[in-house]
């Protein structure tokens, strides 16, 4: 195990098989968080295989050689019996498997995670019973009007890049999944040299290192290079718009702008712009839309992604307000901001908000491990800290510059969900 660096209280190591290992000792509570982030998400799915990463995540809770229902060590409940919280999530750039365990059960957690990295059995019976569960999850997502509109907006905003496909996949592809196809996907991406293991908690490093080497050390690296996803979204040339009519009980407006990837130098200023517009309590859009009775709520999302992403503003339209009018007002506020930039006072508030959010994200071993997993997925495990540091140094002109550059008509995709209920 080779030490790479220590930064922000976190030490980075690399195993011989290519596994990156991040470690931080936190003694606030007698617990430890373990998180394995695989650098594969729906971004890596080929056409016809959408939803594979997510279904695979479900199947990795089924039997492996050493953890299975027949020997009384089913993955779903083995750690839970020790009081652990265990779960997994799939998103655009990554899949992460994590648990919060009593710190004296760290060996059990690492043994399980190492085993399912390469030893899942993929029986057709397991897939069939899990498919109903996945279908139900898909159907539940159809109940959510915000999710529905967001999927349509992303599908319109991207023409080529796989960010246009929702992580849960299309119904058709989900229905045509087979255990064989999923096993092939697993064999392409689930290797130590395509993963980052994080341990944060009340465990001495010497013990953590011994256990990591014991359980993860013997796993061989992939016999092939991990395929890189190289699709580049072509530059958008015209504003895009979609409109839906559905009986969802609410009307919603979403306005998305193409932005950079998380590692780009402009990203921190873009994140600051997002907060000025719709973060905290005093965001400009809160004033323009909620305080005027046009909206029930307004929110912004500008996640730091591996590839260039979007910043999207979502408005829950108030009863009686016209969605088109709300969209016009929203667009006008963003345009005004692009022209003027933030005030010095607004930027000072953003900086305080960012400090506060960072402290919140890192409070608790599992929260910290999961926050780190997002930076890992975006391609730099120190990203969260770097963004925070850059925002501390920003001046209003820096934010104004990126607002002018990215909040442009040719980067815009607008969506309206008109309620017909």
């Amino acid at each position: 195990m080779k030490k790479i660096r220590t930064a922000y209280g976190i030490s980075e190591y690399r195993l011989e098989n290519g596994l990156r290992f991040l470690f931080k000792r936190v003694t606030a509570a007698p617990v430890a968080a373990v998180c394995v982030t695989f650098h594969v998400g729906s971004r890596n799915e080929a056409p016809g295989h959408t939803g594979s990463t997510h279904i695979l995540e479900h199947l990795l809770f089924k039997d492996t050689e050493h953890f299975n229902r027949h020997n009384g060590k089913a993955i779903t409940d083995y750690l839970e019996w020790f009081g652990a919280y265990i779960n997994a999530t799939t998103w655009l750039d990554r899949t992460n498997y994590f648990e919060l365990v009593p710190s004296d059960k760290i060996a059990e957690a690492l043994e399980l995670e190492a085993d399912r990295m390469r030893n899942s059995l993929f029986s057709e019976t397991d897939l069939q019973s899990e498919m109903t569960v996945v279908r139900n999850e898909y159907e539940r997502s159809r109940n959510n009007p915000f999710e529905l509109l967001d999927e349509e907006v992303m599908a319109k905003a991207y023409t080529t890049h796989p960010y246009r496909i929702p992580t849960i996949g299309t119904k058709e592809d989900i229905e045509h999944s087979t255990a064989r196809k999923l096993h092939e996907f697993y064999d392409v991406f689930y290797w130590p040299n395509n993963a980052t293991l994080t341990i944060i908690g009340d465990v001495p490093f010497v013990e953590a290192k011994k256990l990591v080497l014991k359980y993860f050390g013997p796993i061989p690296p992939s016999p092939h290079p991990i395929p890189a996803m190289s699709t580049v979204e072509p530059r958008q040339k015209v504003p895009r718009r979609i409109s839906l009519r559905k009986p969802m009980g609410v009307s919603i407006v979403e306005l998305a702008y193409k932005i950079t990837e998380g590692r780009h130098k402009d990203y921190p200023a873009l994140y600051a712009a997002a907060i000025v517009l719709a973060g905290g309590y005093s965001g400009r859009l809160e004033r323009a839309l909620v305080d005027t009775g046009l909206a029930a709520s307004v929110s912004v999302a500008a996640p730091a992604l591996f590839d260039p992403g979007v910043m999207s503003f979502t408005v829950h339209v108030a009863e009686g307000a016209a969605p088109a009018k709300v969209l016009a007002r929203l667009r006008a506020e963003v345009a005004r901001f692009a022209k003027e930039g933030p005030t010095q006072d607004e930027l000072v508030r953003v900086q305080e908000r960012v400090r506060s959010e960072a402290s919140s994200r890192r409070d608790g071993a599992l929260n910290e491990a999961r926050a780190l997993s997002e930076s890992v997925a975006a391609g730099d495990w120190m990203l969260d800290y770097r963004v925070e540091e850059t925002i501390e140094r920003l001046r209003p002109g820096d934010v104004a510059r990126v607002a002018k550059k990215y909040f442009i008509k040719t980067g815009e995709t607008a969506g309206i969900l008109n309620n017909t209920a």
């Binding site: 109903t132 139900n136 309590y281 909620v290």
Partner: protein, 440 residues
């Protein structure tokens, strides 16, 4: 475990302050409350609007000024109403804690309830109600609560229509009257966990909240629910893609009743909330693949609530699997009620509950929440540790007796919402033959 980390001070003016030093990256999490809530307001909607209006301005500051002040501290602060409390919770960097607590005291002492902001907030609430009305999870929960609890019970939820009607009636006058009725320092409970030494918390809270008005707040009484015959309700929401199903039974007991710990364990064995080790998840989801999630628990009455709660069995189904899924869930309920659980199964779940409790107390917000929830019932923080001892003493025979007493199918009311029709929810007894078949 909790008791050893939480320090407590009861002030002569009545307030109860709890503090735990906990590494939290230079911040503190806090949860506080005073007596009030839906019980005092006579309507959950009125109580909810009252809570939300507290951030709409004070006599000294407009809404805008309040918002700028909060953002200037990077603080999060929210007010909410529970069945019998007006609560506030949030997080702030320690360096701003004094200023934020002073602001909370100002908001409580001098809320303005401005007319213009109220009109906007009411329009917002209308939109939220429209959304809630189309949400299977919300409608199933409302439905079950109304089958089990009579009017005025804190666990009975207003229907969407009732909430709309109540919302229309809310006025600046009704909000001011409610506030005057509830504002009293003697019922204040505040729990703070994070990077601040307990003596500093006590000094700060003592000097900040001692000046709140003082009066005796008497919450209207309510009748506990009585276990009774099963009833059913269906809320069809045609265009939705999944059905939410809730079955439940009134208990009429609180967590200090001798049956409570055995019943809690019984429901844990049946449907361990949020995990996979319950029988429901391991059979209905893992073996049969009929649902994304199915759990059982006692909402409205945890180890920190003296209001009588209810037993609930919850599941979500694809519409075409609803009948089969419901039968499978009821089959598991029937089985555990008739056969109980083995001593070994009870032992494993006892140990799991205790271990889970400790694992989940692993951030400052969880510490503050647990300390607050115990304190509002007038209990010492050591009650949590005592309760865990009670759990560890439960045996299989007690679990079986409690399940037979409270969870018999004939007492189980059912609520379903989503793409489902009234005829899909036939009587449990009518389905007995089908259930028998399913069990075999």
């Amino acid at each position: 475990m909790l008791a050893s980390r939480v320090k407590e001070k009861k002030f002569a003016w009545g307030g109860r302050i709890l503090a735990a030093a906990y590494p939290a990256y230079g911040s503190v999490s806090f949860v506080g409350s005073i007596a009030g809530g839906g019980r005092l307001a006579g309507s959950n909607t009125l109580a909810g609007v009252h809570a939300e209006m507290l951030l709409e301005g004070t006599n000294r500051r407009s809404k805008k000024e309040l918002q700028i002040l909060l953002d200037g501290m990077g603080a999060s602060l929210g007010f909410s109403a529970t069945g019998d409390r007006l609560a506030f919770a949030g997080r702030v960097r320690t360096v701003h804690a004094q200023k934020l607590f002073a602001l909370v005291a100002e908001i409580l002492s001098e809320p303005a309830f401005p007319e213009a902001e109220l009109a906007v907030l009411k329009a917002r609430e209308e939109a939220h109600l429209s959304l809630a009305g189309q949400e299977p999870n919300v409608q199933a929960k409302i439905g079950l609560s109304r089958l089990i609890f009579a009017k005025r019970h804190p666990n009975r939820l207003e229907s969407i229509e009732e909430a709309r009607a109540a919302l229309k009636k809310v006025s600046r006058k009704s909000l001011s009257a409610l506030h005057a009725k509830m504002l009293s320092r003697r019922s204040l409970v505040l729990a703070v966990a994070g990077d601040m030494p307990p003596p500093r918390v006590f000094a700060l809270a003592g000097s900040t909240f001692a000046s709140l008005p003082d009066k005796k707040v008497i919450l209207p009484s309510f009748r506990r629910a009585v276990p009774g015959r099963a009833k059913r309700i269906v809320v069809p929401i045609k265009h939705k893609a999944s059905v939410t199903y809730s079955a439940g039974a009134a208990l009429g007991i609180t967590d200090d009743h001798p049956d409570y710990a055995p019943l809690l364990l019984g429901l844990q064995i049946l449907g361990s909330a949020g995990g996979f080790v319950g029988r429901l998840m391991s059979t209905v989801r893992e073996k049969e693949g009929l649902t994304y999630g199915t759990y059982s628990y006692i909402p409205g009455s945890s180890i920190s609530n003296t209001t009588d709660g209810y037993a609930e069995v919850w599941a979500t189904f694809a519409p075409q699997l609803f009948k089969q899924g419901r039968a499978a869930v009821l089959r598991e309920v029937k089985k555990i009620v008739e056969e109980g659980a083995s001593e070994d199964e009870v032992r494993r779940h006892r140990e799991l509950l205790v271990a889970r409790f400790k694992v989940r107390l692993s951030n400052s917000a969880a510490f503050a929440r647990m300390a607050h929830d115990l304190a509002i019932e007038g209990r010492p923080v050591s009650y949590a540790d005592q309760f865990l001892k009670k759990i560890m003493a439960v045996r299989a025979a007690q679990v079986h007796a409690a399940l037979k007493k409270y969870l018999a199918l004939k007492n189980l009311s059912e609520s379903a919402a989503g793409p489902v029709e009234k005829e899909d929810l036939t009587s449990v007894e009518k389905d007995a033959a089908e259930l028998e078949k399913a069990i075999k």
